[in-house]
Each structure stands twice: as structure tokens, then as C-alpha cells.
């Protein structure tokens, strides 16, 4: 049986100083090895929800928290954030929020040093990550004097350092070039399919990752409006038409005009290849 990696049970949260709830009674479960996309308008609560997964909420953010989040069966309320860091690799929306070290290399080594990993292991792990994310040219630079995209790649590398079973990434491709973004999304897909990592990401480039996601959670004003299989979500009226990725959007428009879904395809195409196949 597949284990439940993340269980979000009736979670609500209101930031101190705020007069409305950023999250309202959210519940859903993520099985180990699933790939979940989180979508929603700006301000809908995506980052707030993600911060509940590594214990930043409620441990560090002041506010009122209700409900419960469990990571592999243990409530975040009962776990220390340092312990959670081993289970949940986390990348902030703003990469500068998590850099602190003298060099990119040290930045990636930092979580490993924190957990007392032996020195030789640290060295090989850091080298591996630097190669994986193409950071050779900047490894001796200060994380404050590199470009925005390079900072984001550095933050991803340090989140992967401890090899955690769950990865939670908040808009990590925002500063990446399109090709580099696809490279990272494909890397996540590989970590998911080959290494059974559970992946939960807020991502604007839905076009480039919807085909490897199992499910999509759509948030609106702090509420979970839809949580379902990606294809089902795109056909759900609650999901805003304008937020639809290009290919499904084009197909649904064509389908509405001339009817394709039963005649040519039995499911909604998500990629160029799938769409072309239905038009052949």
C-alpha cells in the first residue's frame, strides 16, 4: 500500500495583522510519489499553504492556525522544524529569503553541515548538485552577487542537498530562462518517477509541467476550489478558462465549436503530441 506523505486536515490560517483568513478549511491528501501542482491567482494562498508543509506555519509565522498537517503520519505541531527539514526540501518564492552564506558552494553544503553529515560525503554531494544544476561557473561566487536565475538554481540545489522524500517548491522557475525552466521541471519529473519523490509545487508555467502532474489543486481566496486529476480539473467549470494552459485550452475551444472529444479523442490532450494525435 502507498503511504500518505502529506495530510492536510481542515487547515485555516490568518496572519497576525490581517483581518481575513489566508487559508480557509483546506483538506486534501497527497500519497507518497505523487506530483501535485498548486494553482491560483496571485494572493490566493499558495505560498501560505506551502509554508504549512515544512512547519514554518505555525512555528515561525505569527497568526492563528487551525486544523492539522501531517507529514508521514506525524503532525507538524509535534515536530521540530529542523526535523521537518529532513523530510521536506523547501524552496521559497523569493530565493534571497534563504541565502546566507559566503559562496554558492557553502550555501549548498549548509544543510548538510547542519545535520552533521561527514565531510567527505558533503564534498561529493555538493559536487554532484553543482554538476546537476550547472553551477560550476559560479560556485565560488557570493550568492548575493549572482544573477536572479542563478540564485534560484542555488536555492533548488540546497533544497535537494539532504535528499528529502518530499519536495515543496514555490514558483522556482520564475527567474529561469524558458529552457532552464524546462530543464528543472524535467528534473523534478525524473526525481518523481525514478526516485519516487513526492513533489508539490506552485508553478506558473503550467504548460510545461501539466503532463507529469498527477493532480492539480486550485485555490481561490484561501479556499480549495478543485482538487483532482489534471484533465478533470481543466474540464471543471470552477477552473478559470483564462488560466487554462495553451494546448488543453485550444482543444476545448475546438471541441466546443466542432465536437472532438468523443469522435477523435477519449481524453483531453495535454501536450502538442497528444493534440496532434487527436487531429490526425
Amino acid at each position: 500500500m502507498v503511504e500518505t506523505a502529506v495530510k492536510i486536515d481542515n487547515v485555516s490560517f490568518k496572519y497576525r495583522n490581517s483581518d481575513s483568513f489566508a487559508l480557509r478549511r483546506i483538506s486534501f491528501e497527497v500519497a507518497e510519489g505523487e506530483f501535485i501542482l498548486l494553482a491560483g491567482f496571485s494572493g490566493s494562498g499558495k505560498s501560505t499553504l506551502l509554508k504549512c508543509l515544512n512547519g514554518l506555519i505555525p512555528h515561525f509565522h505569527a497568526g492563528s492556525f487551525g486544523g492539522n498537517v501531517e507529514i508521514f503520519g506525524k503532525s507538524t505541531l509535534e515536530s521540530e522544524t529542523t526535523q521537518l527539514a529532513k523530510q521536506v526540501g523547501f524552496v521559497f518564492q523569493n530565493p534571497e529569503n534563504q541565502i546566507s552564506n559566503l559562496t554558492v558552494e557553502r550555501e549548498i553544503a549548509f544543510p548538510l553541515e547542519n545535520f552533521g553529515v561527514p565531510k567527505n560525503e558533503i564534498i561529493s554531494r555538493v559536487d554532484e548538485l553543482i554538476a546537476l544544476l550547472n553551477l560550476e561557473e559560479i560556485k565560488y561566487k557570493s550568492p548575493y552577487s549572482i544573477s536572479g536565475g542563478e540564485q534560484q538554481l542555488t536555492a533548488i540545489a540546497s533544497a535537494l542537498a539532504l535528499n528529502p522524500p518530499i519536495l515543496v517548491l514555490d514558483e522556482v522557475t520564475a527567474h529561469l530562462s524558458p529552457r532552464s525552466a524546462v530543464r528543472i521541471l524535467n528534473l523534478l519529473n525524473e526525481l518523481n518517477t525514478k526516485h519516487k519523490k513526492t513533489i508539490i509545487i506552485a508553478e506558473h508555467r503550467l504548460d510545461r509541467c501539466l503532463h507529469f502532474a498527477n493532480k492539480l489543486a486550485f485555490l481561490e481566496k484561501g479556499q480549495l476550489k478543485v482538487f483532482d486529476d489534471v484533465r478533470t480539473v481543466f474540464q471543471n467549470k470552477e477552473f478559470p478558462e483564462n488560466m487554462l494552459p495553451k494546448i488543453p485550452s485550444l482543444f476545448l475551444k475546438l471541441d466546443k465549436e466542432i465536437g472532438l472529444l468523443d469522435e477523435k479523442a477519449n481524453e483531453l490532450p495535454l501536450t502538442v503530441e497528444e493534440l496532434v494525435a487527436t487531429l490526425k
Binding site: 494572493g43 514558483e171 530562462s177
Partner: protein
């Protein structure tokens, strides 16, 4: 106002390679131009030369006839609006309203003019509900938007925006794109650095590609962004619609290529109805 780079070279450190290597180009008054290129290509470095945040090691940067390498940064503030890639480098006021008022106050703009401009921005971007909030207690996208708006308050003749659309949902992108289009109609020169190809295709007529410290392409956006070798050079990826059209052309060689969504939709409709006629 016109911006002119003449043989500009720059490096951060005499021990390292040039980030900008003998760059020459011209942007005319009221143009809307995108600058693209891979992570670390030097886009941010380039635009920091527009207002003297960085001074070239060699070459000249001119705004109209003014050689800005000889001007103090403070003087440039009244001419050029600049938005940093990371909003944290820009925001500091106690609340959003004060943040928006800071620029115009600093330039001694008359209060009533200031208030009209701000009200217009608040309405355009629908950020009324954020005015009393601290800029540090906003979502990532909200913070980005406020940092952009706080630059737009000053009505300068030239606007330089570093990655303005990241973290924005499609509604905000559309508002921003149309707003900037309107400004160029009024004679303002707008330069945007971006990895957001959809935004560029939708709104920005001219695109400059930076690679290896040089400008490798400069021209009409739709042409530049569908040139495969250039795409490779700039770490870009071909737009999904272009991939789709190419695949469809292999099925039926009369299929016309376009990267405009509506046109592609119509072309596919035509393809299908032709197909159906034949099969009947």
C-alpha cells in the same frame, strides 16, 4: 527619449571576463523593447547602465544627447524609472500607500498630480485593498506588483523594468501589458527584461537577444522568437504554438504557421473541415 549604447563593455571585476562586450544599439523614443537571454547573460547588468547604477568600463551610454556616464545617479531618477528584479531591493515604506507616494514626493511632484497618478494606478491594477498593508506582508505577486506600481508613479520619460511579470497571474499581466502599451503611445520609452515569452509575444514589438556578452539578434519579436538557432543561443524554447504548427504542417503541408493563438485556432478549424469534406 532615445537611448543609445556605443561600444559599451563592462565587467564586475578586472580578473573576470567581460559581462558586456562591445555593445552598440539604439532605442528610439516611444519604443517598447524586450531584452531576453539566458540566466547570467548580463541582462540586469545591461539595464543597470541605463540609469547609471553601473558605469561602463568602456563606451558611452546616452539618453538623448546626455552622456549619462558623466551624470550623477540622482539626476537620472527624474528621467528614468527603474524597477529592480527583486522587489525587496526596492520596497521599504511602512505601508503600500506611503510606498507609492515616496517617488513623487522625492521628485517634488505636486500633491494633486501625485494623487491622480496614484489613483489611476490603484484602479488599473486593482490594489485598493493593499494600500494600508505593509509591503513586507504581501504575497510574492502582490509585492512584485506594488514595486512596479511604485515606479510607475513618477511619470518618467523612460521606464526600465527587470522581470516585471514574474509571479503575476494572467489578469495582472494583461493589465500591465496594456498599461505599458498606452504609455508608449503617449511617447514614453519602455524597456523590459523578461523570460516571459508569452508576455513578450503578446505585447512587445521589438526583441533584443543577449548572448555571450553581445547582442546576437535585434528585431521584430515574432521573427526573433521563431528563429530556432537564436532560440538555442538565448536559452529560449520554441513557443508551444510554433511546435504545434510545425507538426501539423507535416500532416498537411498547406497548414500555415502562426504563433498567434486565434490564428492557430482558425487554421486548425480550416484543416479539420477540409479533412471532413474529403472523408465524406
Amino acid at each position: 527619449m532615445m537611448i543609445e549604447f556605443e561600444n559599451v563593455s563592462f565587467r564586475y571585476d578586472p580578473k573576470t571576463d567581460y559581462v558586456l562586450n562591445d555593445i552598440t544599439f539604439k532605442i528610439n523614443k516611444a519604443e517598447f523593447v524586450a531584452i531576453v537571454g539566458k540566466n547570467g547573460a548580463g541582462k540586469t547588468t545591461l539595464i543597470k547602465h541605463f540609469n547609471g547604477l553601473l558605469k561602463p568600463n568602456e563606451g558611452i551610454v546616452r539618453i538623448d544627447s546626455l552622456d549619462i556616464t558623466k551624470e550623477p545617479i540622482s539626476k537620472m531618477a527624474s528621467i528614468i524609472g527603474y524597477s529592480f528584479q527583486n522587489p525587496n531591493h526596492q520596497l521599504f515604506a511602512q505601508n503600500v500607500k506611503k510606498e507609492l507616494e515616496f517617488g513623487p514626493n522625492n521628485l517634488k511632484v505636486e500633491e494633486s498630480t501625485r494623487d491622480t497618478t496614484i489613483q489611476n494606478l490603484v484602479d488599473t491594477f486593482q490594489i485598493n485593498h493593499l494600500l494600508e498593508r505593509s509591503p513586507f506582508e504581501l504575497s510574492g505577486g502582490e509585492r512584485r506588483l506594488v514595486s512596479i506600481a511604485s515606479v510607475l508613479t513618477m511619470n518618467q520619460q523612460v521606464l526600465v523594468l527587470d522581470e516585471p511579470t514574474y509571479g503575476q497571474d494572467y489578469r495582472q499581466k494583461k493589465r500591465l501589458g496594456s498599461f505599458l502599451n498606452k504609455l508608449t503611445d503617449e511617447g514614453i520609452t519602455v524597456v523590459v527584461v523578461s523570460h516571459d515569452m508569452d508576455f513578450i509575444l503578446d505585447f512587445i514589438p521589438r526583441t533584443i537577444v543577449l548572448s555571450g556578452g553581445k547582442i546576437v539578434a535585434d528585431g521584430e519579436t515574432s521573427k526573433v522568437l521563431s528563429d530556432q538557432t537564436l532560440l538555442q543561443d538565448a536559452d529560449l524554447i520554441s513557443p508551444l504554438l510554433l511546435d504545434l504548427c510545425k507538426s501539423l504542417q507535416q500532416i498537411d503541408d498547406s497548414f500555415t504557421i502562426s504563433i498567434n493563438e486565434q490564428e492557430v485556432y482558425e487554421n486548425i478549424l480550416a484543416l479539420i473541415s477540409k479533412d471532413r469534406k474529403i472523408s465524406r
